[in-house]
């Protein structure tokens, strides 16, 4: 077996007495799509926050391709090739859709900082083309010049996904990427993510929609009360009585 791309080692996170994460050990293998499921408040988003540097773990560490992420700034973690879609979309709401997607390209082209005054942002042929083509892929091709805060909730999620994809990340962390989407859009997103999978991108996806989970996941980890209570391929998880009790039970009756 390959060494893991993301190695979460004995991570704990406490919030003033609340144990949001307890002793999390999780290895994400290169090129796999790994779903994290669990009831509300299980600690799923907290786990991703620890990975991208939004939260510091109370204990334990996270390694990405052998590099320790704990203690690094969010921009450094992104520059290593980790891109994230948030549970509540984080966008540039007062910029246009295409600008939202062009900006992430600059952080790949110019690095974490560049005093680029010699060119114009509106005369970036290749960059604009790349942004347009990703937007077409996620189904926002008709909205490129719209202002972002006018988009629907589902469209905002697709835009945030486009902003991550355009960076050609090695690891894509998705926090409920289809929440708020219409069924047809959800299915389109599943197809898109399956395409991305084929290009070799490693994906971690948090999702409540079991249709999405079972359409995408190679492996599933179930989180409840801040602990991983089960892990394995989809078929195994489906039949696991602990999981059904903790989570699937409510949904699959």
């Amino acid at each position: 077996m390959d060494s893991p791309l993301l190695h979460i080692d004995n991570v704990h996170k406490h919030f003033a007495g609340l144990h949001a994460l307890s002793d999390i050990n999780l290895d994400i293998r290169p090129q796999e799509t790994h779903a994290i499921i669990g009831p509300n408040g299980a600690g799923k988003s907290t786990l991703l926050n620890v990975c991208v540097g939004r939260l510091a773990p109370s204990q334990g560490k996270v390694l990405f391709a052998g590099t320790e992420l704990t203690g690094r700034h969010p921009h450094e973690i992104n520059q290593l090739g980790v891109a994230r879609v948030f549970q509540t979309p984080e966008l540039f709401e007062d910029l246009t859709v295409v600008e939202n997607v062009m900006i992430p390209i600059f952080s790949r082209k110019d690095g974490a900082f560049s005093l680029s005054l010699a060119s114009r942002f509106d005369k970036q042929g290749a960059i604009a083309d790349k942004a347009m083509s990703i937007l077409a892929d996620v189904g926002l091709g008709d909205h490129v010049n719209h202002l972002t805060n006018a988009l629907s909730r589902g469209d905002k999620r697709r835009l945030e996904l486009a902003m991550c994809l355009v960076q050609d990340p090695k690891l894509l962390l998705l926090d409920e990427p289809t929440a708020g989407m219409a069924r047809a859009d959800t299915n389109a997103t599943i197809d898109l993510l399956n395409e991305i999978k084929k290009t070799g991108v490693t994906i971690v996806i948090i999702e409540h929609d079991m249709h999405v989970v079972f359409s995408l996941a190679d492996r599933i980890s179930v989180l409840a009360g801040g602990r991983i209570i089960a892990q394995g391929p989809p078929e195994e998880i489906k039949g696991n009585p602990k999981v059904i009790e903790a989570y699937l039970g409510e949904e699959q009756v």
């Binding site: 948030f86 952080s107 114009r120």
Partner: protein, 407 residues
């Protein structure tokens, strides 16, 4: 809908340049076509343009920019004393020193955002102001203010056999004396250049990154940008603009006093920018022009002018009106400004440029349904099509804010 393009930006710059250079003619009907006042419009225009690069693009509200104004003035006067009465070394030194000063203050202040950032900048500026009056007296000449003396060494001038005659040589640009109309045209040309530079910054990828930071700094971080150096660069650039403005104050009148660093001066540039429209290209110039115009015109109106104005009314009514309106002029001009400011902020949160853009759209595109561009961004681009008033309204009288250090 008009699109922002290199062409529209060139048109904007040309229109701006024409408005500035024709200022003396355009301002004639407003009673302000004299160099002292026009050059003050230009200088404060530069100050506000620079402030807007920080506040308008990144949303970081500095309450201490007057400190850089002061540093610019002091260093230019020192250059006049030690180097040359030619203004070029003085201006260069002022820009460099205010930039370094901004680097230090920005480095510390940018560790915080929001109100804490504002308070930190305010604290630094007040500290500078107090230091200028006390410990730094050997450099600033304290309350008296720093002046150029006939006996100053002026090493560069001396080297080229400059006169050491009985008379203090005037500040000059390679022989052109910086008083009267040449003084205004010098400041005007610098204003045009600095406006052009702000267009470049606004349109560059760098400018877009600043806007993105204003929009969602967290997203910028998770997208791989180190936002701190972006913010620091914007802070330093705007500090250098302020230093340049301070330097031009010394160029046109070779004096420097600590009151230039006072918090009221820092607050004034905030008002100018918000009044005109933060984040727009022309707004800050417009705002500074209007405030300086008010300061000069309204503060110069006295009771006899008012009596004449209301002379058409019956005598009792005339008295009432004079009494009422005298609250708003003379010493009371701040009241007028305050009301104007409140009206603008409440009804046009995007500043006067937003109002202008609204009018403009109603005229040209009856039903605007497109959400393609925000109001703010429209303003930025469409200014090209309808260059607002020239940057300068006019006025007589000497501004009290700018009172020279007592001799």
């Amino acid at each position: 809908m008009f699109r922002i393009s290199p062409t529209s930006d060139i048109v904007l710059l040309l229109a701006f340049a024409a408005a500035v250079l024709l200022g003396p003619i355009i301002m004639q009907p407003f009673g302000a076509a004299y160099p002292d006042l026009l050059q003050r419009f230009a200088i404060f225009g530069i100050f506000a343009i620079g402030f807007n690069i920080l506040f308008g693009l990144t949303g970081y509200l500095s309450f201490g920019h007057a400190a850089f104004l002061g540093v610019g003035s002091y260093s230019t006067v020192w250059a006049f004393k030690l180097v040359s009465m030619n203004v070029v070394p003085g201006i260069i030194i002022a820009i460099i020193l205010s930039g370094l000063f901004a680097l230090v203050i920005g480095y510390v202040s940018l560790r915080r955002s929001g109100i804490y950032f504002s308070i930190l900048t305010l604290a630094f500026a007040q500290m500078s102001y107090n230091l200028a009056y006390s410990v730094l007296t050997p450099i600033t000449n304290g309350e008296t203010g720093l002046r150029v003396l006939r006996t100053d060494p002026r090493y560069l001038d001396a080297l080229f056999g400059g006169e050491t005659g009985a008379r203090l040589p005037p500040t000059n640009f390679f022989g052109i004396e910086m008083t009267g109309w040449p003084g205004f045209y010098f400041c005007g040309v610098v204003l045009i250049i600095m406006f052009g530079l702000s267009i470049v910054i606004f349109r560059s990828p760098f400018g877009m990154m600043l806007r993105a930071i204003k929009s969602n700094q967290d997203r910028m971080r998770y997208t791989g940008f180190n936002t701190r150096p972006y913010l620091l660069s914007a802070f330093v650039i705007s500090g250098m603009y302020a230093g340049l403005a301070g330097s031009l104050m010394a160029v046109t009148d070779p004096l420097a006093g600590a009151e230039r660093m006072q918090w009221t001066a820092s607050g004034e540039v905030v008002l100018m920018t918000i009044l005109g429209g933060a984040g727009t290209l022309l707004g800050p110039v417009l705002g500074s022009g209007i405030i300086k115009y008010f300061e000069n015109i309204f503060s110069a109106i006295n009771e006899s002018v008012l009596s004449q104005f209301w002379a058409f009314l019956p005598e009792t009514l005339q008295h009432v009106m004079v009494e009422l309106s005298s609250l708003f002029v003379g010493e009371g001009w701040h009241l007028t400004l305050g009301l104007l400011f409140m009206i603008v902020v409440i009804f046009l949160p995007g500043g006067l440029m937003e109002g202008a853009m609204k009018l403009f759209r109603i005229k040209h595109s009856p039903k605007v349904t497109s959400i393609a561009k925000s109001g703010q961004r429209d303003v930025v681009g469409e200014g090209a099509i309808e260059p607002m008033e020239p940057p300068k309204p006019p006025a007589p009288g000497r501004s009290r804010q700018d009172a020279k250090p007592a001799e």
